[in-house]
């Protein structure tokens, strides 16, 4: 008997909860869903969509919660597979390739596209057509802590580091003064996508030259060990490894700890990008002034790559067309226009610390010193285009990054590293 009462209670509870959960499914005029792979600024997107709903009450935009790390790809795939594809989304340019036949081809004559910087429109181009619009410019190289460096070298000029020898001398000076010279973040994305990515990208300013090099690795006509850029960058890498602040345990790869150590001036330089400000900015004790030094690969100060930093537009906004209605697509287009080109929309990105590649961004927008430093390289065209690498889909960065990690701890030597990289590319197919 007692049990019957227990189950009656359970059933009532079930019914009650069902009643609570059913109820509010209001009829909105246009309902859009947005998928963000920039998990760190989910809150920003939510605020933006709430504000947009205030000014356009007939449009409701729902942010689909992002999975963690690797989960993002799988979640997006299951959204598409289950017929719940988001109306619009931000994804890596590499993913355009996967979803190409499901994304809107943007009309390049769209009135408001005139606000995009010329190179920004290229970020989302695939096979000559534009599928995505970027919203941020980010960059990476050897970031340095001004207070720490200037405590050793009072009038330090980052432009003075334009050769491998200059970098070596710089590190030696710091080391002699008892300042740990540099730090490598021991995670495969940092050493694989970002560092090794330099080797491919510095083959030329345009995406095509880097891609040509990768294709020659894929079809085996080229061995990476024969490439002077590879050898050059690996020589520099040896230097970084030698003076690595994390030398005792290089593969921990805890971004919180590394960012914090760098912000507290525990080491002078750090191979990382301006996005680390999203963490450093929230710290209570931190240095505020930073700059970037290029990663030199040879002793020729005029060689491409020795005086440039990598600047990329890591995410692009796309609209889905196979599972959304024309009304939804048109509404999404209007939302994008508001987000990307209106003063109000742009303000959200600026406040979040994004440097937007649009020419109507208010000129007095101020950024943190890292973003500012990258923007200065950008303004004078001293940039490396990492496009060839972001155009490669899949797990290239993780696989080659793991090989770089093995090299970092000395589990393999450079010849073995080169062999493994060659072997990896041979398993890939040409895009």
């Amino acid at each position: 008997m007692k049990n019957n009462r227990f189950f009656a209670f359970m059933l009532t509870l079930m019914l009650l909860t069902t009643m609570i959960s059913v109820g509010a499914t209001a009829e909105g005029d246009v309902k859009l869903t947005y998928y963000s792979t920039s998990a760190e600024v989910n809150a920003m997107f939510e605020e933006m969509f709430e504000r947009y709903h205030e000014i356009n009450p007939n449009v409701t935009i729902e942010l689909i919660p992002t999975g963690v790390g690797m989960g993002q790809q799988e979640q997006l795939q299951s959204l598409f597979a289950s017929g719940n594809a988001p109306t619009f989304m931000n994804i890596d340019p590499a993913n355009i390739l996967d979803y190409q036949d499901k994304l809107m081809v943007f009309d390049e004559d769209t009135e408001w596209f005139k606000y995009l910087n010329p190179d920004a429109i290229e970020a989302g181009r695939m096979d000559g057509l534009v599928y995505g619009l970027p919203f941020s410019t980010q960059g990476y190289a050897l970031c340095y802590n001004k207070r720490v460096v200037e405590s050793v070298i009072p009038d330090f000029d980052p432009a003075s580091i334009n050769t491998q020898d200059a970098l070596r001398a710089f590190f030696e000076t710091l080391d002699a003064a008892g300042v740990p010279p540099t730090m490598i973040h021991g995670a495969n994305w940092s050493v694989g996508a970002h560092y090794l990515g330099l080797v491919y990208a510095v083959h030329g300013k345009d995406t095509a030259s880097g891609l040509r090099f990768i294709e020659s690795l894929i079809d085996g006509t080229m061995k990476i060990a024969d490439d002077p850029l590879f050898q050059g960058y690996m020589d520099t890498y040896d230097l970084l490894v030698k003076y690595n602040y994390r030398k005792d345990d290089p593969l921990v790869g805890d971004i919180n700890a590394d960012d914090q150590a760098f912000a507290n001036g525990e080491c002078a330089t750090f191979f990382m990008g301006d996005w680390m400000w999203t963490i450093i900015g929230t710290l209570e004790s931190k240095d505020l002034e930073y700059g970037f030094i290029p990663v030199p690969w040879s002793n020729d100060p005029t060689a491409f790559g020795n005086t440039e930093v990598v600047v990329s537009m890591p995410k692009v906004m796309c609209i889905e067309v196979t599972q959304s209605t024309p009304e939804q697509q048109a509404a999404a287009m209007e939302v994008l226009e508001w987000m990307l080109t209106s003063a109000e929309g742009q303000e959200y990105f600026i406040q979040a610390g994004f440097s937007m590649p649009y020419n109507n961004v208010r000129e007095d927008a101020s950024y943190n010193s890292m973003t500012q430093a990258i923007a200065e390289y950008s303004a004078v065209g001293k940039t490396i285009n990492i496009g060839c690498f972001t155009y490669l889909t899949g797990d290239a960065w993780a696989k080659t990054g793991d090989m770089m990690l093995k090299y970092t701890v000395g589990a393999i030597d450079r010849a073995e590293l080169a062999e493994e990289i060659d072997a990896f590319w041979k398993t890939q197919t040409k895009q």
């Binding site: 189950f7 959960s21 809150a43 919660p65 959204l79 719940n84 914090q260």
Partner: protein, 275 residues
């Protein structure tokens, strides 16, 4: 003799308590650091907090949309677990009391299914249920749990029911008691200890599950607590301080349930022993 025994007990007690402390260190870290900043956590995780500043809890409460998540988690967990307990205990009873080739085949299939990697059904699930337009719905998720939960629950009930003397039921059936009534009034009460065990294990599984709800529940308003906890994870980093507070908030209901039921488990287990 009895002195020696007591000595032995002392040794055991100390050993077990030491082990327990070792077991609970991570929880000390979580609770302690839910009152401290991420920065302090990374630098000195063990140092005892010098304030009981609820800032992280307030942050976590707001950022996770805690009440919304709590309601969803409750709804999904209660419905799914109730359904699993009902259906699996009845199915197990049938399978034990009606030994046939079919019964054995069903039982074998269920046991085998416990080792199907979730990855093997993930995309097919999305494709099938998505095309039926059943995604983004709590009821679908409850049904999924009911399906995924069957095998383990049937397996446990099966083992337990085997141990209940069949004579009791036979007597009731001869007295003209219907099969359903027989099940609920004779079998169910005997299942109490194992019902509580399965209840707890399933509640823990469903309450904490991340992967399945992340696939099925797309709207933020449907999010369960574990999904909300991940608002502290960004692509490459973790905001530890509010995460710790969020974790504590998420575990409280489960701890409450466990403490509540622990009595019943022991009671049930003891009853079973006296019989």
């Amino acid at each position: 003799m009895s002195v020696r025994l007591r000595k032995q007990h002392w040794g055991r007690t100390v050993l077990v308590f030491l082990l327990l402390i070792l077991f609970l260190v991570p929880f000390y870290l979580v609770i302690n650091n839910s009152f401290r900043s991420t920065e302090l956590f990374v630098n000195s995780p063990f140092r005892l907090t010098n304030s009981l500043d609820p800032k992280n809890y307030i942050d976590a409460f707001a950022k996770m949309k805690f009440l919304n998540g709590l309601q969803n988690s409750f709804y999904i967990t209660i419905c799914a677990v109730a359904l699993i307990l009902f259906t699996a205990s009845m199915c197990a009873h049938y399978l034990v009391r009606n030994r046939s080739k079919l019964s054995n085949a069903i039982f074998g299939m269920m046991v085998a299914s416990m080792i199907v990697p979730f990855q093997a059904v993930m995309i097919p699930l999305a494709k099938i249920y998505g095309s039926l337009n059943l995604y983004n719905n709590s009821l679908t998720l409850i049904f999924f749990y009911m399906g995924f939960g069957q095998a383990f629950a049937v397996f446990i009930f099966h083992g337990f029911i085997k141990g209940i003397p069949v004579e009791l039921e036979e007597a009731a059936l001869i007295d003209g008691c219907g099969r359903l009534k027989n099940f609920f009034s004779i079998v169910m009460p005997n299942l109490k200890p194992v019902l509580v065990t399965v209840l707890i294990l399933d509640v823990l599984w469903i309450w904490n599950d991340y992967l399945l709800p992340s696939m099925v529940l797309l709207s933020p308003s449907l999010r369960t607590l574990p999904l909300s906890t991940f608002s502290f994870f960004t692509t490459y980093s973790v905001d530890y301080a509010p995460l710790m507070a969020g974790l504590v908030l998420t575990i409280i209901p489960v701890i409450a349930l466990y403490l509540l039921c622990q009595k019943q488990i022991i009671e049930g287990v003891v009853q079973g022993a006296i019989k």
